[in-house]
């Protein structure tokens, strides 16, 4: 299967380890990963902040770069949601008919990591080994835009050695929301405080999620308080093996 990796601009810059983990994981499962170098950004930040015309070039670039693959994997629920749900909105509003058609062809081939693994590749046990206590935050966009359900948890449950503990009030938002955390910093902090309280209550060594932006937000708070709780993208846990631990 020809799988293209859309790393997302944020992961590319801040969390290259996530992309490396996705690559290692998929290759271990016997697939070929391609990384189209022309890729940039899905345009989510611009779209969600109200800067729609600025989003158009990014939609155009995404569809051109990722056209023709069997599947495009995205290690970010919110970026996958942006491509699948909102690219067609931007194309319809500012683009031409050709762009709209291109979006209709490409968007359905885009999968968040857990969707790709479970639905497309048909695996839940990816042969991972991660002997740590982990709790999982099911980020809002994965949960409610993509409806990934308990796919990530099914993948984590199959990891050998893991001590997976339930996160109380898991489905409530962590308070990141992109520019929301800047525009409404006080409310964002209040939401973060509650999320951190729940994470700390689990006694987990690591908080995991399918989106590094949420993890940066929660992890930034956990770090400031010197809690010692780490954050780790789902891909890194799934890529971890006895021979190649993370």
């Amino acid at each position: 299967m020809r799988i293209a990796l859309f790393i997302t601009c944020f992961n590319d810059t801040m969390f290259p380890r996530t992309g490396q983990a996705v690559t290692a994981l998929l290759e271990r499962l016997g697939h070929t990963v391609e990384f189209p170098q022309g890729q940039t950004c899905c345009g989510q930040m611009h779209f969600n902040t109200g800067y729609r015309p600025e989003t158009l070039p990014m939609v155009g670039r995404f569809t051109e770069v990722f056209e023709g693959y069997d599947a495009v994997v995205v290690p970010s629920g919110s970026c996958a949601g942006m491509v699948r749900d909102h690219h067609r909105v931007v194309a319809a509003q500012y683009g031409d008919a050709a762009l709209t058609e291109a979006v209709e062809r490409v968007a359905p081939t885009v999968y968040e990591l857990s969707e790709l693994l479970v639905d497309v590749l048909g695996v839940t046990d990816v042969g991972a080994y991660f002997p740590h206590r982990v709790t999982y935050h099911p980020t809002c966009h994965s949960l409610r835009m993509l409806r990934v359900g308990d796919r990530p948890l099914a993948l984590l449950r199959a990891v050998k050695g893991i001590d997976l503990v339930e996160l109380p009030d898991a489905e409530s938002c962590c308070g990141f929301g992109g520019t929301f955390a800047l525009k409404n910093a006080d409310v964002s902090n209040a939401m973060l405080a509650d999320k951190m309280r729940h994470v700390l209550g689990t006694g987990a060594e690591f908080l995991s999620a399918g989106d590094n932006s949420c993890l940066t937000h929660i992890g930034g708070g956990l770090s400031r308080l010197r809690t010692g709780v780490g954050t780790m993208h789902l891909a890194e846990i799934l890529a971890s093996t006895e021979g190649d631990p993370r």
């Binding site: 992961n11 611009h46 800067y51 729609r52 600025e54 910093a185 964002s188 209040a190 770090s223």
Partner: protein
Amino acid sequence: MSGADNVVWLGTPAFPQAARTALADTQLRANLRRATGTIRDKRLAVAAELEDWEELRETAAAVKRHTLRHLDHHLLRLEKSVTAAGGVVHWAADAAEANRIVTDLVRDTAESEVVKVKSMATQEIGLNEALAEAGIRAYETDLAELIVQLGRDRPSHILVPAIHRNRSEIREIFRREMGEWGRPAPEGLSDDPRDLAEAARLHLREKFLRAKVAVSGANFAAADTGTVVVVESEGNGRMCLTLPETLITVMGIEKVLPSFADLDVFLQLLPRSSTGERMNPYTSLWTGVTEGDGPQNFHLVLLDNGRTATLADEVGRQALACIRCSACLNVCPVYERTGGHAYGSVYPGPIGAVLTPQLVGIGSDIKSGAASLPFASTLCGACYDACPVKIDIPEVLVHLRAKAVEAGRRGRRLPTVEALAMKAAGAVMSSPRRLAAAQKLAGLGARLVARDGRIGALPGPFAGWSASRDTPVPPRETFRAWWRRTRRPAHADSSATVEGKGRG
């Protein structure tokens, strides 16, 4: 102006500032968390009882879509059937006109007081204040509205206006204020809910038995029969709707339903979504007037107040499907922390964030007033899942954000710092080469300000973020660079050709 000024409370600061005040109130946070948590759990349980819940939602959404598409037609049908049943229909374009109509109707009865059943529409137009100016006293009879009125307060929730008050606060309000408005609170009033309810009952009974005029809102009105519906929990509304001689109902034009049979769906969805009950305790339906039974004069005021303008927006109009159940408030993580006052509007929470700016019109300054409301959300989507009529609130939020940004661009000669930053980021993010250069710069900059691999407090727009979160320093090698270094032979590097592939 649309005349919808009263939707927004005058002098209310923008959401971020108002939220800061609310967040500092720990009692408010505790009250809200307890109350929304309880209703949220009850709602989930009773919704799960119905096997066809999703079908009901879809049906309700379809009925609302149809009604809004043919709103003029159904409103004219409603006018006809109400008139045929002995009622009088009035049309009000804005708040001022609606207030004038109601004030004149009360004056015609020569009465100087009215009892009211909780009504969002009259809150929206500031009817109590308008009546007061005309020398008419309006008494709120819904228990929570009574608490708000006695406390000289503002409602904080659509369904539970006094959600921000706990019982000891309520006791204090009753003891201090009830005497000013009528029968005082009994001596030695405790904060036991039963005692508080009894005090309110005695206080209100005096008014129910005396009042000749009542003002109500409406949850629904059936166009085919002219039947108006009020749904409530306490029976105080029923007293208002049946005892007085004159009943004046103020109803937003979007509340019309094509037929009486449509109530079947909505009366299942509303109580389950709002109070988490299978059925609300009191459902009052009346059709015009009936000789010798109930009010002998019935007036229906159909209120526009920005609704027609909202209807003109293809994406935003779905907010008019709202049945005011408040399920979205109870699941909203932002509302849960700030309460309703921070929204500066009669309509708080997620639905308020999309309804208020549409009713008053999106202004040109996204830093103030109603235009700040679409930004008061993380777009987590919990509101959409909870909405019984499937209003895609996140979709409307981002739609209105775009409108607010556009309005800002039009209203300004110079772009804002944010607009410049977004433009610059857009240019960077649509080109891999510019992105790579920016990544290099960002990495250098970050390493300059970092300590122990983490970035602490930052100035400017990042101050709020960095006050409580460390920011990680980007690693020296981006993924893109790692891929090139490890995956491609050095001579095959040709970013120019790849660059040319995109449109950006």
